[in-house]
């Protein structure tokens, strides 16, 4: 049972990662920087619970806020680059943030042990959950409260004018501008919301793995972030969730029995699914 709760935690956190890219993708921007905002949230929330003893909820709040601030800062220059250049620019930004954490040392002595991020060696002993006696099931429910909240929020966006505005910009920028939409406001706001979601996800990630290091937030994680909404389709938030389940529950855990072949099938199935369902598992809106 513990295993399923643990898997539930993982799926929840990865869904947040995917949703952070989803909202940005709606506006037609492919952002490989979500892992960077995830990292900012992770380090921030972890430092607050470990170094200053905060409770996890306000720590997550700060992590999410800092993720949003970073994303907003990225959102403005991102306006200047279009299409594939944005992919590369956000990739480079993500790597830059990772390298900053690689060089980041901030240790505080707690008793006879030094805790805190230590550059290349990472940040260990982020044990808020076990130290406060949370069971695996309780942590899973905690994570899913947030995931549910974010999914509800994005679902509500989709049914409101904001969602229509996001997708309008994603479909055709010129047309959107000609009906009076401010591209800047739309794109930057989407990026900021994405950053907030990623920051939240990152904070949760730090606490359920108890150890983070710069290498955890690499290009592979950034790629997974956009893979989930692309494979799942942009029709609605459930596409992203379905993709996370497909990848983490089916490909990673379900195919465990295939041993060696699992990794090969991983790449092959992604290629196959893109050929068979180019608009994602759930397809796109109005198709």
């Amino acid at each position: 049972m513990d295993f399923y709760f643990g898997l539930g935690q993982l799926i929840g956190v990865h869904t947040l990662l995917g949703l952070s890219a989803y909202i940005v993708l709606l506006t037609g921007q492919v952002s490989l920087a979500q892992a960077a905002f995830f990292a900012v949230g992770a380090y921030a929330a972890a430092m607050l619970t470990v170094l200053t003893g905060w409770h996890i909820v306000p720590a997550l709040g700060v992590g999410s806020f800092l993720g949003a601030v970073t994303a907003c800062a990225v959102g403005f220059p991102a306006l200047r680059v279009k299409g594939l250049m944005l992919v590369i620019a956000t990739l480079a930004f993500g790597e830059g943030v990772r390298l900053l954490f690689f060089n980041f040392d901030y240790q505080v002595a707690k008793g006879d042990l030094k805790v805190g991020p230590l550059g290349g060696e990472g940040f260990r002993q982020i044990r808020f959950f076990p130290e406060h006696g949370w069971t695996t099931g309780e942590v899973m429910l905690f994570i899913w409260v947030f995931v549910g909240g974010v999914m509800a929020l994005l679902w509500w966006f989709d049914r409101s004018r904001y969602g229509a505005v996001l997708r309008a910009v994603g479909e055709d920028e010129l047309a959107a501008q000609s009906v009076g939409l401010s591209l800047t406001a739309v794109k930057v706001s989407a990026m900021t919301v994405g950053g907030a979601i990623a920051g939240l996800g990152g904070g949760l990630y730090a606490h359920y793995t108890t150890h983070i290091e710069h290498a955890s937030f690499n290009i592979l994680m950034a790629t997974f972030a956009i893979a989930y909404p692309i494979v799942g389709g942009l029709r609605n938030v459930f596409g992203t969730l379905a993709a996370v389940l497909f990848v983490q529950a089916f490909l990673v855990e379900g195919l465990r029995g295939l041993g060696d072949w699992r990794n090969l099938l991983f790449g092959a199935l992604i290629v196959l699914s893109m050929n068979l369902r180019p608009h994602g598992l759930f397809g796109r809106r109005g198709a």
Binding site: G96, A268, N275
Partner: protein
């Protein structure tokens, strides 16, 4: 001062390998307006396939391995095209991006499976040759890489501007619909573009293997990132841009390392990219 010059020249020569990778990315972008994220992986894959020559003939000279890599790269290029681009309709721009990512993972995994994850020794030519001018040295094998890259660029430019295939490629890159109306088979041109970039990639992979001396799938990701950065700095779609940007990035990367250490080196490369994006988003040679 000598340190600076030496470091710069080392980096510039090594940057020739980045230039080769950059050419591949930029050519695919120029013709199909898509990024082939699996390009660096396919190049390394081609280099590995070149090692099969040694399996068949243990005493084969290095240039035969390079030739094997060249041909294998072409084959892999076609495979990537068929699996990731041919069947996906153009109306979904994200799908080819994702499928090439899946292809990158697949190629890496195939390499790991076939080599049990162990780094492979790679043959080199002139790797014991060091040209010296006092305390200043130039690696002979890197000069070869540099020379090969130049040859490839010249060959490619000749192909693009002196042959019918090149004409067709340029036509498709400018206006695919009009090209089709003129009787050019777009799918065939696209496939051939991938084969050509694949051939180039195979050579790039072999040159990288030769200059490092060992091959490992560990270098795929950093090479992909560098290649993409070089492509953007050079200007998406410009081959001379990719060459110059490759040398520039190679040289500056080493200089950053000299002055700020290896942990901050890549940060400065990113900042260089951002500087270009802010001040010259079209790259060095922006396409009009």
């Amino acid at each position: 001062m000598l340190d600076f010059l030496q470091t710069l020249s080392d980096g510039v020569l090594f940057g020739a390998t980045y230039a080769l990778i950059g050419i591949g990315f930029t050519l695919v972008f120029g013709v199909m307006h898509k990024i082939n994220m699996a390009y660096a992986a396919a190049s390394i894959g081609g280099a590995y396939a070149g090692l099969l020559v040694l399996k068949a003939l243990a005493t084969a000279p290095a240039w035969m391995v390079f030739l094997g890599a060249f041909l294998a790269g072409g084959v892999l290029g076609w495979v990537v095209y068929a699996a990731c681009f041919h069947f996906i309709p153009l109306s979904s721009p994200l799908a080819p991006l994702m499928s090439t990512v899946g292809m990158l993972l697949l190629i890496d995994e195939v390499i790991v499976h076939l080599t049990a994850g162990m780094p492979q020794n790679y043959p080199a030519m002139f790797d014991d040759v060091m040209l010296r001018a006092g305390a200043f040295t130039l690696r002979g094998d890197l000069l070869l890489v540099f020379g090969v890259s130049l040859l490839c660029m010249i060959g490619l430019l000749a192909l693009l501007y002196r042959t019918r295939l090149g004409l067709a490629t340029r036509a498709v890159s400018q206006q695919a619909v009009a090209a089709q109306l003129c009787g050019i088979r777009v799918a065939r041109v696209n496939a051939l573009t991938f084969v050509i970039t694949g051939l180039l990639g195979g050579v790039a992979g072999a040159m990288i293997g030769a200059s490092v001396g060992t091959l490992s799938p560990l270098i795929t990701m950093p090479l992909t990132v560098k290649g993409l950065i070089v492509t953007v700095i050079g200007g998406l779609g410009s081959i001379p841009g990719a060459i110059i940007a490759g040398l520039l990035v190679g040289g500056l990367e080493n200089v950053f390392q000299l002055y700020r250490g290896v942990t901050e080196r890549d940060l400065y490369v990113m900042l260089l990219l951002f500087a270009f994006l802010v001040f010259r988003p079209g790259g060095l040679f922006s396409r009009t």
